[in-house]
Symmetry: C2
């Protein structure tokens, strides 16, 4: 005996999401049937709305309802600095800090020879074009993740941009605030010592 067709189709839909296997998909599908009808309808609409109404900003690649995005369109922001990040989520994380008022550039990925991802597969060309057009720009801050791919991407971009006499910086590596030295891994400790500062 198979599941009734509507629930089998819903399980298939949940299965398409990342990190969700057969068991979880089934649990979510049965949960959906027990949800309030209003919540299910809202969920259904929010899926389609998010897909249809969100686009990538044609300037920075961030996710946005309007093009250009509110950050690129904001005349108040400091146009001398651009932070380069991997994903739109990273922009949100940095914005939550409320201390940075410059611009962003979202790569939508990293260089990864293992997965066959080269410079043409991520948003690098548009970054270079953007730097050429924007004469106010003095500093590019690379904020790719502290992974081997993130580091390689940072190096690649830095070499690409440096000839244009733009300052290229990288976020500091070191101990997370509030963390214990006891639990820090060797690479982090090494970077923390390497980047030590006078107090």
């Amino acid at each position: 005996m198979q599941y009734p067709e509507p629930i089998a189709r819903l399980i298939d839909s949940y299965l398409k999401l990342p990190g969700i296997g057969e068991k979880t998909a089934t649990r979510l599908a049965f949960f959906t049937i027990d949800m309030q009808e209003e919540d299910v309808i809202n969920f259904s609409h929010s899926l389609v709305d998010a897909k249809k109404n969100l686009h990538y900003c044609s300037i920075c690649g961030n996710i946005t309802e309007n093009d250009p995005c509110i950050i690129c369109a904001d005349k108040q922001r400091d146009r001398t600095k651009v932070i380069v990040v991997e994903q739109p989520k990273d922009v949100m994380s940095l914005e939550r800090m409320r201390e940075y008022h410059g611009l962003y550039h979202v790569l939508h990925g990293v260089l990864s020879p293992m997965e066959g991802k080269g410079p043409e597969d991520i948003n690098i060309t548009s970054l270079v074009k953007r730097l050429q057009k924007n004469s106010e720009l003095t500093e590019v801050i690379i904020a790719t993740n502290a992974t081997p791919e993130g580091e390689a991407t940072a190096m690649y971009i830095s070499r690409l941009i440096k000839p244009a006499k733009i300052k290229v910086t990288r976020l500091a590596h070191g101990l997370a605030v509030g963390s214990d030295i006891e639990y820090a891994d060797e690479m982090t400790l090494f970077k923390a010592i390497e980047g030590r500062q006078e107090i």
Copy 2:
């Protein structure tokens, strides 16, 4: 800075699902935006379809498109036996075995004094009524989970039904097929010894 409204709403929707926290909901929402439009629309429809087209069978409580469900409606099935389970999922699991051809009864929960769930909160009254109406019935097999609540529910139902001179049985507890004694817990081993059979 907040997320654009459509994605914030989608994150809220994902957050309503069980076992999904803020981080996973955000990841799923961003994943949704990168999905094929067709897949998102299918997902959206399958949610509403499952909610609107599925009901609980008025006889056994199983999930179904048509009432009564195909098992209750199937004249070929053995009407002398009813397996009592906690959830519709359990019916599917037992049906996958392809060895049982009797009927089912879905409780939609278990007795749980800790959560304030009494006999009136689960599908017990309808089970008793069903037994009274169906004179062919000779055996009720209780297949609630092997948890304290499942056991208590099994005992409760058994006491309720026995006076009607219907045979009440419980699924055997013991070692799972293919499992190692080394890794079995004490309760399982105890049940396995208690239920030992001559070979």
